[in-house]
């Protein structure tokens, strides 16, 4: 594929300012610029200000310097960081690989009834997360008679109190996330796979490439942009996960097992009505996600390609 960018030579002017090729890109990105200035700029600035404030009602806001950030050095926040970190790690591995495998199988037409499966995999993302929480809680219950513990016993293992401990709880959480987001990531990958011209495969076939070579030399480079996208939003989703943990544990985070960073932020902001501290947590989370994603993007050679 040609990777050179289009030279910005003004080929012809149609008399219209908006059609000037030097102006066109600005017109194209203008919706986002306007959107950012009108909708996000004010809340973003306010959040940054709030993170340096103590807030007790509309008329009680005072600046307290870095105090909110210094308060982050607590057991609870460290625990939340750990929980989110552990989750994000496994989430990244499972939710990039499993859907990729399934998407490739669906795309190859190997499995019968691919169209049918595509719509089936998509159903969980629309199913009420509250109900899913109930089902997963019951399946991974604490009793020996709970569905998964019966399986464990049948396999000769000891029953587990799945949701009471960090590692097994994280496993269930990953499973719930896989259940819910698998179909969505499959759709991303499929759209990427569909953009690969079929004659690339034919050319590889003629060159005598086997299935694995075809995958590494045609498929992977072809879906690389989509892969970068999926990894980036999975990292983001991993660190800012909240809904799924609430669905599993509701508000009962015994031992802090299911309390993520956003869960902690939420508790501080709304349960304790401390918006200053919550803002500090939120901005710390932002910094963390940006940092991790920067590392990831550099490793993926994201910046090399464009410049």
């Amino acid at each position: 594929m040609q990777k050179d960018s289009v030279q910005q030579k003004p080929l012809r002017h149609r008399g219209s300012f908006l059609n000037d090729p030097r102006i066109v890109p600005y017109v194209l990105v203008a919706p986002f610029i306007i959107f950012f200035l009108v909708v996000y700029l004010y809340p973003l600035i306010m959040t940054i200000i709030m993170s340096f404030q103590k807030i007790d009602g509309p008329n009680h806001r005072e600046f307290i310097g870095l105090k909110n950030y210094l308060k982050l050095d607590t057991r609870d926040f460290r625990l939340a960081l750990q929980t989110s970190g552990r989750y994000a790690f496994w989430d990244l591995i499972v939710l990039t690989l499993v859907p990729l495998v399934i998407a490739c199988i669906l795309h190859s037409g190997l499995a019968k009834g691919s169209a049918f499966f595509k719509s089936l995999f998509f159903i969980p993302s629309l199913t009420s997360i509250i109900v899913a929480g109930i089902v997963f809680r019951l399946a991974f219950g604490t009793l020996e008679t709970a569905t998964m513990n019966r399986v464990m016993i049948a396999l000769g293992q000891k029953p587990i109190k799945w949701l009471s401990y960090a590692d097994s709880g994280n496993f269930v959480l990953i499973l719930l996330t896989l259940w819910r987001w698998n179909g969505v990531n499959i759709v991303y990958y499929l759209s990427g796979l569909q953009s690969i011209p079929t004659d690339y495969y034919e050319a590889a076939q003629i060159d005598g490439a086997n299935a694995i070579q075809k995958f590494t030399h045609v498929t992977l480079p072809g879906i690389r942009p989509v892969l970068i996208y999926v990894i980036t939003i999975t990292v983001l989703g991993g660190f800012s996960m909240f809904t799924e943990s609430v669905a599993l544990w509701q508000q009962n985070n015994a031992g802090g097992v299911g309390r993520t960073i956003v869960g902690y932020m939420y508790m501080v902001g709304f349960k304790k009505n401390n918006f200053g501290l919550a803002s500090a947590v939120g901005l710390t989370l932002l910094a963390l996600v940006v940092a991790v994603n920067l590392i990831q993007l550099v490793l993926m050679g994201f910046f090399k390609k464009e410049d």
Binding site: S5, Q8, V24, P25, V27, L28, V29, F32, F35, F36, V39, Y40, P43, L44, M50, I102, S108, L110, K112, G113, A115, F117, K118, L120, F121, F122, I123, S125, L126, T127, S128, V131, A132, V135, L138, G141, T145, A146, W179, G183, V184, L190, S191, G192, Q194, P197, T198, D199, Q205, P225, V226, I228, Y229, S240, V262, G282, L286, V290, N293, K305
Partner: protein
């Protein structure tokens, strides 16, 4: 992909394995839904009696919960449905239109400030939305958008994750196509509309699905903006059934089933067209 006869047997075995794997994942995907459906046919008290069960008991099963849903709190459920649908359509249509333009612009053009704009897109994407609630609420009040459908979609008008996806997708498009379009006498906007949009159909498809899902499941922001119970959305309504002081499973289960089934039906019907569109859109060469 051509396969010769020697590979025919190998392929048949692979096909069975692949199909089995798909069936396995399909079961995994459908269990919660099946439980939800079976439970929706039973009285709330029956549901928890024997724990997680998919058993069908004709003695106690009926569609009574569904008819009760119609009269639940003066039929408010269907108002939620309408409200959810309006928000979903608005959010998806507006979001797709703007973000495809922005993503395309970021991918296909070199211009001053491009990296700055793209960084902003990524930062807004990574902002934890929960933390913006308070100032965003104040903004809605000053813009007089409280209790309006438009207010419920304002934070998602040009969704950064969509821009990012369209940008990534456009990176794979050969730039010669633009030159070809220019030589044919198209304006840059004409090139986008006539040449690029058909190529981008798989991307539009993926983003439609994701946007619909996000909007359909969104609870917090619509609740913050709406001040009239009839303008609430389905997730808000379903959320009210589980409280620390008692749960209404008889409402939750049929309500959650009804929230999925029509969408799935539409999806299945639309799929043929959708798939056809996908093939037509793929790049040849």
């Amino acid at each position: 992909m051509a396969s010769n006869r020697i590979e025919g047997k190998k392929r048949a075995v692979l096909s069975i394995l692949a199909t089995a794997l798909m069936v396995l994942f399909a079961i995994f995907a459908m269990v919660p839904f099946a439980f939800m459906f079976m439970s929706s046919l039973k009285p709330g008290a029956e549901m928890m009696r024997y724990g997680l069960t998919l058993k069908f008991d004709p003695g106690i099963s009926s569609f009574q919960n569904y008819t009760a849903l119609n009269t639940y709190r003066d039929g408010v459920y269907w108002h939620w449905y309408k409200s959810s649908a309006i928000i979903m359509v608005m959010q998806t249509a507006i979001g797709l239109f703007f973000s495809s333009l922005v993503g395309y612009g970021l991918a296909m053009y070199q211009f001053k400030g491009r990296n700055l704009v793209f960084s902003l897109v990524l930062i807004v994407m990574m902002l934890p939305f929960e933390i913006l609630l308070l100032p965003m609420y104040q903004l809605m009040i000053s813009m007089k958008l409280m209790n309006t459908y438009f207010g419920a979609v304002v934070p998602y008008l040009v969704p950064p994750f969509m821009i990012f996806f369209f940008r990534q997708y456009c990176l794979g498009i050969p730039k010669e196509l633009m030159e070809a379009g220019r030589i044919d006498g198209c304006t840059d906007y004409g090139i986008f509309w006539r040449i690029m949009v058909p190529i981008l159909i798989p991307a539009f498809g993926a983003m439609t699905i994701l946007s619909c899902m996000n909007s359909w499941n969104n609870l917090l922001w619509p609740l913050i903006v709406m001040q009239d119970e009839k303008k609430f959305t389905i997730p808000i309504g379903m959320g009210t059934t589980i409280t620390p002081y008692g749960n209404a499973y008889d409402v939750l289960m049929p309500g959650a089933v009804m929230a999925v089934v029509p969408i799935i039906v539409i999806y299945l019907f639309a799929q043929k067209t959708f798939i056809a569109g996908l093939t037509a859109g793929s790049v040849k060469g």
